[in-house]
């Protein structure tokens, strides 16, 4: 199979720039990066069809090798439509993010921060359990119960 060098170079640049943009924190750049990578992938699909030929519409007397490969073109068409939908959705998210917070940067996860900052001491698992030595509590330390309350109110009468 012959490979078109121009396509290959363009593809490489698209992928490289796309990866660079995805690693940014700004959502708009991430979206642009995704678009570039999608286009790189589409070019890759296109180049798998081999060299260009006639349009893949049946003509009498045209040998099979003269046509372009129609399948990659069908695949690219599908992939373009899908990436169009995803891009539209990303734009909606970016706009919503801007409306909500006046920013389009990727935010830290609050829960992750919390887990990272939590102390190693866990009150439920690590606290010392006070040892009970006796079931019988001395009367002066006994908690007030309804019975003692009633006794006191009767005394006050």
């Amino acid at each position: 199979m012959t490979v078109n060098l121009t396509l290959l170079l363009v593809m490489g640049v698209l992928f490289a720039v796309g990866v660079y943009l995805i690693l940014e924190r700004s959502l708009t750049r991430v979206m642009l990066g995704l678009m570039l990578i999608t286009n790189g992938a589409n070019l890759l699909l296109l180049s798998t069809g081999g060299p260009a030929g006639l349009a893949p519409i049946f003509g009498v007397g045209v040998p099979a090798e003269a046509y372009s490969d129609p399948l990659p073109q069908a695949l690219i068409l599908t992939s373009i439509v899908i990436s169009f939908a995803v891009t539209a959705f990303m734009l909606a998210i970016i706009y919503r993010s801007w409306v909500l917070g006046r920013q389009d940067e990727v935010q830290d996860d609050i829960e992750d921060r919390r887990v990272a900052n939590q102390p190693t001491f866990d009150a439920e698992d690590d606290a010392e359990i006070p040892a009970e030595t006796t079931e019988f509590v001395p009367p002066d330390e006994a908690e007030e119960t309804p019975a003692t309350n009633r006794a006191r109110t009767e005394r006050e009468k």
Binding site: I22, V30, L34, I37, L44, L45, L71, I82, I93, G101
Partner: protein
């Protein structure tokens, strides 16, 4: 009858239902009915397909009458039919639950009218991914379900959901791009994207090319299935979505990734070239996931980590490439879809009843709502693998496969799966002790409403003044039905289905072992698509 003839219905019916639900966007009741009826009919069609596939083995249909390998084929075999039936049953239950929630809240928050059409498209995408016999159509199925899931994930457009949605969308798009690039490379190498045809032609390639293509597919599907170290996105994004959405994502989306991994490993790239690698990945997924789960204090996040961890079991079964191991993995997928979804639905009910899923605030729910406690306890024990539940049976199958294999790494995996099972039990017992068993005032940050609530729930409605304080802290927790029956019934249904997996474990294991045997032979699948004798002259 050839079951594959009706296979396209499993995709077309939900799509038509979605269109109808979209037309009925101003009539919530009609939308609910459309969704429920569509999914019930789809489920019935899929049960017929399962029965036929069980009796006759793999069958294929060529969409549009194109001769394979040129057109798109749909293949119904034991694995895809079983996945379809389980996933449709689960998505029907979740749809009923979501409808119940919508009715109870009288659709007050967010554009919920978009939920039903999107949800049906998601189901269509899942069905398409399970049925297709064409690699690019698998990509289309993935994109259908992913695009629908983006919308569901950010439903209502609140700030936390947008934040989580961004992570989810970017990671999913990147994994889809990797998949698309792999498809392009596979087409360049072989000139076909029909999976049965690829199964023959990929074997004729140079081993190093095979390795590259194999690894690229594994990475792409590994992100979707949330296999460590590609699972970081899942616990960040799933818990913020509405409860029914999280439940259906947890049940279905990662399993579609696992399904794609199974097909890659058995049909496209058979042999044990990467088995050791997969086993290492499986044990890391299990352990890292479950250690994350033990550290969480939010029930939904904890469940998301157990989800990641238990993907490891499926990869373990897959990596063994034996009938016992693969059969157990298939059974485990069916078990895990049901149980994980029911746990997330119960988490949604806990959130409604207790106002939060934060374990530091909750307490005393067992007294408040014994039914909720039972609904949590049964799937929790099921997930942890306590006998006689289906989780135990699946794990026994996996361990048996590992012991049969007997290599050192297999023993490491057997030990790892035991430890993971115990730690799962620990994580779920913590939820049980804190949320259900202790008194509400023993919580780290006791919830005043829960502390004030009497067991009959009488104090709840008098202490919350929603009308006077529309933006108060109890907004949305006030005069609502706490446990509406339309939400409880689907949950009960799923919990019962989880138990039924134990009751019917015998026939199910027979089915999954048969599926595993046919997948490892590969001949039934390939001959169903390409016709008899297609495997002649091909090295097994």
């Amino acid at each position: 009858m050839n079951a594959a003839q009706i296979a396209p219905l499993a995709v077309v019916l939900p799509l038509l239902g979605a269109a109808l639900a979209f037309v009925l966007i101003r009539h919530p009741n009609a939308q609910r009915r459309t969704g429920a009826i569509t999914l019930t009919v789809t489920l019935a069609v899929e049960v017929v397909m399962l029965a036929s596939a069980w009796a006759n083995g793999a069958q294929a249909v060529n969409i549009g009458g194109w001769i394979p390998p040129f057109g798109i084929t749909m293949v119904v075999d034991e694995l895809s039919a079983l996945m379809l039936v389980v996933s449709s049953a689960v998505s029907l239950a979740v749809l009923l639950y979501a409808s119940g929630q919508g009715m109870a809240d009288s659709d007050e928050e967010g554009p919920v009218s978009i939920f039903h059409p999107t949800y049906l498209i998601l189901v269509a995408g899942v069905s398409n991914a399970f049925l297709t016999g064409d690699l690019f159509n698998l990509y289309v199925g993935f994109e259908m379900l992913l695009t629908a899931s983006y919308v569901l994930m950010t439903l209502g457009g609140t700030s936390p959901r947008i934040r989580a949605g961004v992570t989810y969308v970017v990671v999913s798009v990147i994994s889809s791009m990797l998949f698309l690039v792999s498809i392009a490379m596979i087409y360049a190498a072989t000139g076909t994207i029909n999976m049965a045809d690829l199964a023959i032609k990929l074997g004729e390639l140079d081993p190093s090319t095979q390795m590259t293509l194999h690894l690229m597919l594994l990475v792409a599907f590994g992100i979707k299935a949330a296999v460590f170290p590609l699972s970081f996105w899942l616990p960040d994004s799933y818990p913020t979505a509405p409860a029914p959405v999280t439940a259906v994502f947890a049940g279905l989306l990662t399993k579609v990734g696992v399904y794609a991994l199974i097909r890659t490993e058995t049909l496209l790239f058979p042999g044990d070239r990467l088995n050791t690698f997969l086993m290492v990945v499986a044990v890391l997924t299990m352990l890292v996931g479950i250690l994350g789960a033990v550290a969480q204090i939010d029930i939904k996040r904890m469940l998301s980590f157990t989800l990641v961890s238990h993907i490891g079991y499926m990869v373990f079964g897959l990596a063994m490439s034996s009938v016992v191991g693969l059969g157990a993995a298939v059974y485990y997928v069916a078990h895990h879809i049901t149980v994980q979804t029911s746990l997330f639905l119960v988490a949604g009910l806990i959130e409604r009843r207790g106002g939060t899923t934060n374990m530091d605030r909750l307490g005393g729910l067992a007294k408040l709502s014994p039914m909720l406690a039972i609904l949590f306890f049964v799937p929790a024990m099921n997930l942890a693998g306590i006998p006689p539940f289906s989780g135990f049976l699946g794990k026994i199958g996996l361990v048996q496969g590992g012991v049969d294999l007997g290599s050192p790494i297999a023993w490491v995996l057997v030990a790892g799966s035991m430890i993971t099972s115990l730690l799962t039990l620990l994580a779920l017992a913590r939820v049980w002790n804190r949320v259900f068993w202790r008194r509400p005032e023993d919580a780290e940050h006791p919830d005043p409403v829960l502390v004030a609530t009497k067991p009959d729930g009488s104090a709840v409605r008098t202490t919350r003044h929603v009308e006077e304080r529309p933006h108060g802290r109890f907004t949305g927790r006030g005069i609502v039905q706490l446990l509406p029956m339309p939400m409880v019934w689907p949950t009960i249904g799923l919990v019962v289905m989880g138990v039924a997996l134990t009751v019917f474990a015998g026939p199910l294991f027979e089915l999954s072992d048969q599926a595993a045997r046919e997948m490892l032979q590969r001949t039934p699948y390939i001959e169903a698509v390409l016709g008899e004798g297609a495997m002649q002259g091909v090295a097994p």
